[in-house]
């Protein structure tokens, strides 16, 4: 049975749509629990830091909890697949944590604008690194919101980032 070019083109469009949709759904399924987890950790950490400017040490407890919980989530997800991330994931998380620590140690933000730029820099680095559809969709949403970030939110970020890390630097 000969296939007409129009039918072949329509079939290719359907295939492309199905592949793209499946890839996006897979990305959402694997990354969304981790994004929710780290969102909750950030809410807890920044919430404490907002009321106590010297509470930067809370991150030293929250980050290991987040890493452990991410491992637990990944173990649950690997039950439905033949491969998990295991030590690759752990190494990636540690590298990301060290990267953030190094950036803040060297490029310690001292103004609201710098804090905003740093947040955007981290998010762009993360999305480029992950290169997953979910992260890029979330970035497009967040990018449109970061430009309208109110001064109060910037001030919160400044207090939590700048004061905490400046004190850390002073102690060192």
């Amino acid at each position: 049975m000969a296939i007409r070019p129009e039918e072949a083109a329509a079939a290719l469009r359907d295939i492309e749509h199905a592949e793209r949709h499946s890839a996006v759904m897979y990305g959402y399924r694997r990354t969304s629990p981790h994004l929710i987890l780290w969102g909750a950790i950030w809410i807890a950490g920044y919430g404490v830091s907002f009321f106590r400017l010297d509470a930067w040490a809370v991150w030293l407890g929250l980050v290991p909890i987040g890493i452990g919980a991410s491992f637990w989530i990944d173990r649950g997800q690997t039950k439905s697949s033949r491969r998990g991330f295991g030590w690759q994931y752990a190494t990636t998380v540690v590298v990301i944590f060290l990267f953030i620590f190094a950036v803040l140690s060297i490029l310690n933000p001292t103004s609201d604008a710098q804090v905003g730029l740093l947040l955007r820099f981290w998010w762009r680095s993360a999305t480029r690194f992950l290169e997953c559809g979910a992260a890029q969709c979330a970035w497009q949403f967040l990018d449109s919101r970061l430009e309208r970030l109110p001064p109060a939110a910037i001030s919160v970020c400044r207090n939590t980032f700048c004061c905490g890390w400046r004190e850390l630097g002073a102690e060192r």
């Binding site: 072949a8 199905a18 592949e19 499946s22 399924r29």
Partner: protein, 81 residues
């Protein structure tokens, strides 16, 4: 098969998730899966989650190759035009 090819190699997907992704009915998708399994293009794994049956589907290497050949065939037809 396009939906399965988008997943990483050796990655399985549950029948219900595949059905939701493709928007197909149980019978329709089941018939397709059985046919593709008979051809050796899919691997079906049935298990239980508690007392609920769970069916997972995975694209095999021959299936991945056959799908890529099919896509290449379609592209050739479109390019010839």
């Amino acid at each position: 098969m396009a939906a399965l090819k988008a997943l990483p190699a050796r990655e399985q997907i549950e029948f219900m998730r595949l059905k939701a992704t493709l928007g197909m009915t149980d019978g329709n998708l089941g018939a397709h899966i059985v046919t593709l399994e008979r051809a050796g293009y899919l691997e079906i794994e049935k298990s239980f989650v508690g007392k609920k049956p769970c069916t997972r589907v995975r694209l095999t290497k021959p299936g991945r190759r056959a799908f890529e050949q099919y896509v290449s065939f379609l592209r050739d037809i479109v390019d010839q035009e």
